[in-house]
Structures are given as C-alpha cells and as structure tokens.
Symmetry: C2
Subunit: 303 residues, 2 copies
C-alpha cells in the first residue's frame, strides 16, 4: 500500500525565494491527505504534479497564517474545477468562521460538501478511522492552540498461503475467515491452526507530524518508534532563546526528540527565513540523530 | 518621474502552472501602489525582486478570492519583517472584517498602522490625492461589487528657463512663484509674462485598471485617451456567452474598449485557465486594437 509524503512548503512565518509556507501531501493508498495549507499550496501542487482532485482529507494544525492561508483558494479552485466529492476538513473551531465569512462575501456556494470537524486542542484522540489508517492528535505547545497528527496504517488482513490451502482443498468461502485469523476446521473434524495456512501481513507504518511546538515531552509517548517523524526545527540551537520565546524547536532539539523516542527517520522543516542555506540545521540535527533529512519542497519520502 | 507597472499575476479564478492570480505593482516615483493581491503575491514579489517594504498603498477591486487572498499573508510578512510605516488599504467594506477575524485568531497585532478606507462601489470618486497622483474609482459591472481605478499623475510645476532668469537677474525667491505660473514684476515696474521665463512640464500620464467587468460603457468616460489601460480579457470572443454569464470581457471586447476610448496602449490579462497559450487572445484584441500587449508575470510596462 502506497504511503508517502511530498513536501509542498518548508518555510516558517514568511516565505522566502524558493521556500513556501507549510503544506504536505500524504499519499495513502492513492488518496491524498493534505496536512496544513500555507499560502500558495495550490500553486505548489501544480508545480509538483500533485493532483488536488485526489484530496479527501485536510488537516490544519493551527491558525497562524503560514499554516492555512492557502485553504480558501484551494477550496475555491476545487469548486471551480467541478469537484463533487466531499472533503473532510479537520481544524481549529474558528477556522470554520474564517472560511464562511470569505465564501459569504465572494458569494460562493461550494458544489461539494465540506464536512468540517473541529479539533479539540486540549485532548489527544483518534479523529479519523477509515479502511486504511487512523489519525490521532498530538497536543503541541505553541503560542496559540496547535495540534500535531499521527497517521497510522491499519493492520491488514493475513496473507493466505495458496499452496497449502489448495493442497488441503480449503473451500474458497473459507478464505475471508482465514484472512481474519480463524483456524480451519474440516468437515471430517480435523483442525489446522491458522498460522499453518496464512502468514502475517506487512508491518504497519506510522507518520508523525509536529509543527509548531516547543520541545515538550507531553506528546512523546505517541511518537515512540514511529517510522517517519516530521518535526519543526525553525532555528539552530544558538537561537534557543528565540525558539523558546516564539514557542519553536531548534534543530538540535528535533534530533534529540527523534533519538529519545526511537523513531526510525526524522524529517526537519519549518525553517526560519534567516537560513539561506539549511546545511547548518541539517548538520546540527544529525549530530544527535544521523537519520535526519531536510523537508525540501518537491521531495517525496516513502514511509 | 518613474511611472510603471509590473505584472505579478495574470490568471483568472484558478491559478495554472506559471500563471498566478491577479496582482500588479505600480511604481510611482519609487513608491509602490499594489493593485489587487491574489494568493501568492508575496512570493511573486520575491521572485521578481519587487520590494514589498516599499508598498504605501494597496487597492483591492473586489472580494473574489483571486483578487485578495494573498493580502493577509503579505501584511503578516511585512509585520514580521519589522515594518513600522503605515499602509493605506482601499477596498470593499467587508474586507476589514475578513482581515480582522484572521488577525484575531492568529493573535496578531500589527506593528504598523493599517489605515483602511472603504470604497463605495456605487460611486465614482477620487479616493487618493497625494503629491504625485490622484486615484479615481470606476464603477465596474461584475457579479459582486467591483471597482476599477485610474491613477493619474499630477501636473508638475513649470520648468524655469535659467538662461532667461539669470539674464534678467530674477531674485531666487521668485522662482517658486514662476514655477506656479505667476508673471514676473520687476521693482522698476516692468512685467514679463510667465511663458517667457518658464516652459510647461512634461505631460501627465494615466494608468487605468479594469478587472473584473462586463463590457459596459458606464466607465468609458473616465478611461478616455489614457496612456495605458489594463483591461481584463478572460475569454476569447467565441466564448461570449460564458463571458456574459460570468460577467467578464472577451479579448475582442477589450480591444474595442481601447479603440472606442482612444487609449494609447492596451494591456490584457485575467486569462482563463483554459488558455494554455495566449496567442489567440492577443491576436483577437490586436485585430481591433494593434497596440495591445499581454499582461505576463514579471513584465514591466512603462506608462
């Protein structure tokens, strides 16, 4: 099952040449889950050939403009391009008001259902549970309410060992039970343990998204051992005071968070406009956690 | 005096690859006047090296997203980059609400004064009169209230003919009167007509901005004989029905408007996403008005 993330924006607060505000397109089994939607996200999707029509879910972490100002434009374009399929939008309660007032004054009536689900920023919970994944919220620690997300693949059904089942003439109707782990009972009273006829499906993977936040261990339990963690790293550690003041994380801290929680791979982003080159931030995170990559616009990371 | 316009966006409604929604930066005597501010305008300014810090005035024609969705992001960035100088923003009354609600929920308190001036969409009037120009509104004809603008250079002071004034020993204190057209009276009772000692300053120029609108002669008087007219030309004329339905102009009509009103040069823009190449639109406008150019991103037109 496809499970990867394409970076559409990596800048914090103000865009700079070549770096756009935050947005990421998660492709899970050919459906798109858009995480944050900074200004220019729809243009970035055009640039990197990410089909906006495939978006089924949108998640907005918080109401700082660099994380949502592209949303109304994206929804308008989907509408104008004839979208009919509903979209589920998760975000802070007031996001609804912000969208509504803009569509009110532009006299826009969307041709598709926008199913808005307000996120409780003080509660960690599963907000989505579909056939492919669950999405769990993380209580981040920012200047305003801010939510992170863990996207976790669901355990898939067991794989049938066809050679064995054919040898035993297992009736095809029995296959769905075998996939669910049920043992095989023959009509003449014999029993075959499920493990003899099937094997475990691939391990499930998880992607964690933490932007924007102070280093704070309250969300650490939920990102333990995950396969890919995106964590903001707005500043280098020599700007720790500024990071604390603005409720952001340094690249060194992002590395420490990955290392402390045994994640497999770290992706850092949300870079301050002061860094023309990002090597300093990458080197710093790698000094504690070598498996670190930069969340660069247009790059896709398989989870 | 510098008087030119740089195109930051030329697409209508939905952006396409390489075409951004509407925005134009007018440079008048090294001060910037931003006209409309579609999503991604601040990124376009970075791309084309237009210094956002030089913006003193912003004009928003109407509340369709492709004309203003970049505004909150631009204002935020100016704020974060330490701007202190005030900005005067002209726009539809409800724009204030849209901005206020977004800054409220992001807990942003701008460090500069945003002097909002609501435009009356049903009245044509002079909304700005400073040392360099006047700005007059045009009542356009769109699906929602929409305003166009004419930027008209002010008549500059007369030029003194130094050879003559030195020959006559005109006291330096008299120069400011001469520049204003006053005749010269000597202490011994002689009179020299002002025209003998000065010459007229350069002719004043004007730039007209008409987006979005149906072909409607109610704004024609105000664009008569102007030097450069930007007019929307969303569709080719074979889509006249669609243009009428959506309250837009065709390229042929834009050419007719320029020709009917004796403008010196026409700039067409606000192109529908359906046109990958713009040659058809350009040829069509030129068939009635040869002095037509395409309002292409990054191009600067001297007025």
């Amino acid at each position: 099952m496809r499970f990867d993330v394409t970076i559409l924006g990596s800048s914090s607060a103000t865009p700079i040449f070549n770096r756009n505000p935050t947005a990421q397109a998660l492709n899970i089994n050919e459906r798109l889950y858009l995480i944050d939607c900074g200004e220019g996200t729809q243009q970035q999707m055009l640039r990197f050939d990410i089909k906006a029509s495939r978006i089924d879910y949108i998640f907005i972490s918080h109401l700082h403009g660099d994380h949502y100002l592209g949303l109304v434009g994206l929804l308008s374009s989907l509408h104008l391009n004839g979208r009919k399929k509903p979209i589920t939008l998760f975000g802070p309660a007031h996001l609804k008001e912000i969208i509504d007032i803009q569509f009110k004054y532009s006299e826009t009536k969307l041709h598709f259902d926008l199913d808005f689900k307000s996120i409780d920023p003080l509660k960690s919970e599963i907000i989505l549970d579909n056939t492919d994944i669950t999405v769990e919220t993380l209580i981040l620690d920012h200047r305003i309410d801010c939510t992170g997300f863990v996207f976790r693949q669901k355990k898939r059904l067991r794989k049938i060992n066809k050679e064995k089942t054919e040898l035993l003439n297992v009736p095809v109707e029995y296959y769905s039970l075998l996939k669910r782990g049920v043992d095989y009972f023959t009509t003449d009273g014999k029993t075959y343990a499920n493990s003899e006829l099937t094997s475990d499906s691939e391990a499930t993977k998880a992607y964690g998204y933490c932007s924007d936040t102070l280093f704070n261990d309250r969300y650490f339990d939920q990102i333990k051992n995950i396969d890919l963690l995106y964590h903001e790293a707005t500043f280098a550690h020599n700007m720790l005071d500024r990071a604390n003041e603005t409720h952001h994380t340094t690249a060194l801290q992002a590395g420490q968070i990955a290392q402390l929680n045994g994640v497999k791979k770290l992706l850092i982003g949300h870079f301050s406009a002061r860094y023309k080159s990002l090597i300093e931030l990458l080197d710093e995170a790698r000094s504690v956690f070598p498996e670190t990559e930069l969340a660069i616009e247009g790059k896709t990371f398989v989870i």
